[in-house]
Symmetry: C4
Subunit: 123 residues, 4 copies
């Protein structure tokens, strides 16, 4: 399949609640960037996390050709974890076209709440 | 009405929970791709489902002229059902312009949670 | 302010649940198309509602200059109400640029669920 | 990083419920415009709030270079607070490219509900 998407994506909203009713991974409060690389070349991505009051932090992510990666911000460790209960934003810069969608599952209360949106993309 | 939309659409997020409090079809946990074909020609669509660790699977879908189809991924059977509790993504390739919106109803808990976003479209 | 937006908008997802825990208008299950006309000319809009198995139905809506209208599909009466518990989709055609966002409040259960997305726009 | 985004953004949906189960700031019903300024120049933004039946009200907001601001509409005071339980819409006009995402947390009931969408952007 020919590649689909854009090479730069932005998600202005980011917030990982520290509270969760459940400790089961599927129901733990989390923020996800779902990345689709539908094309025939592996994607090398620089992920930058922005904050309200300090300089951005950069991460490296890769997604093989014809694969999707549902990346949890909670799982980022290197160079540092994303702080909890803190407003952030993110930008993805890829060497091939990708598509990015933002999803949060919030389980601070007994019931879960969900939000999702396709990110803002441009080349 | 002249056609509206794009011929290629991507939804990076996909996940069908196996759990549901209710077995009533309207309240069963499900993922939907709402497809609108507002134009005057029937749409023949190839739907490709992408995974984290294996090759994509392809399906065929059609939407008549001036009709909408709210397609549940749960209902896809041929060549194989979409696995539950598994991250996936999807791409729609149509021979005429369409518009695609992604919605999930999650009823793993007693109350439902909803998410929705217009997919990423391009020609 | 110069006008902002597009003249054609599509919302592939539409579904008004017949059930509601609450009969209070703010908490009644409803589907809304939020329309913003930020420009200096009144907007005359043709709204077409599409179904899975019958021809579309057309409505007329107007939004004054520099105003927003949060239109509930539940409130449409002429030429006919939008049926409950039925999949539909919608297209907005305006004579001036507008912006359209889709929101649903679902109160079939004791707690509410929300979804929202900016619609698909083009000229 | 080169700037990413657009200079004009619209959010047709806006509504701040007056009710909240919790008075804790994180769980108080609120509407947020998450603004990302990924570029190297500070952003000066004019925010216009539109209503159903009166003239728009204008606010001033700024976001430093390489920072994100998660702006709560509830916090706007000058020239006047945004009224509760009232339909509104908003437009952001920036002197440099930004990206805007709209999020609402609704805690009128015991459990929270969330919605989010990237706003409509153009230059």
């Amino acid at each position: 399949m020919p590649a689909i998407g854009k090479t730069r994506w932005a998600i202005p909203e980011g917030y990982i609640p520290s509270e969760s009713i459940s400790q089961h991974r599927a129901l733990l409060s989390h923020e996800t960037a779902c990345i689709l690389n539908a094309g025939e070349r592996d994607a090398k991505i620089r992920l930058s996390v922005f904050f309200a009051d300090r300089e951005p932090v950069h991460y490296r992510v890769s997604v093989p050709a014809r694969r999707t990666l549902h990346l949890r911000f909670n799982d980022l460790k290197d160079p540092e974890p994303v702080p909890l209960d803190t407003d952030y934003a993110s930008v993805f810069e890829s060497d091939v076209p990708i598509v990015v969608q933002h999803t949060r599952l919030d389980s601070r209360r007994a019931e879960i709440a969900l939000l999702s949106t396709v990110a803002y993309g441009e080349d």
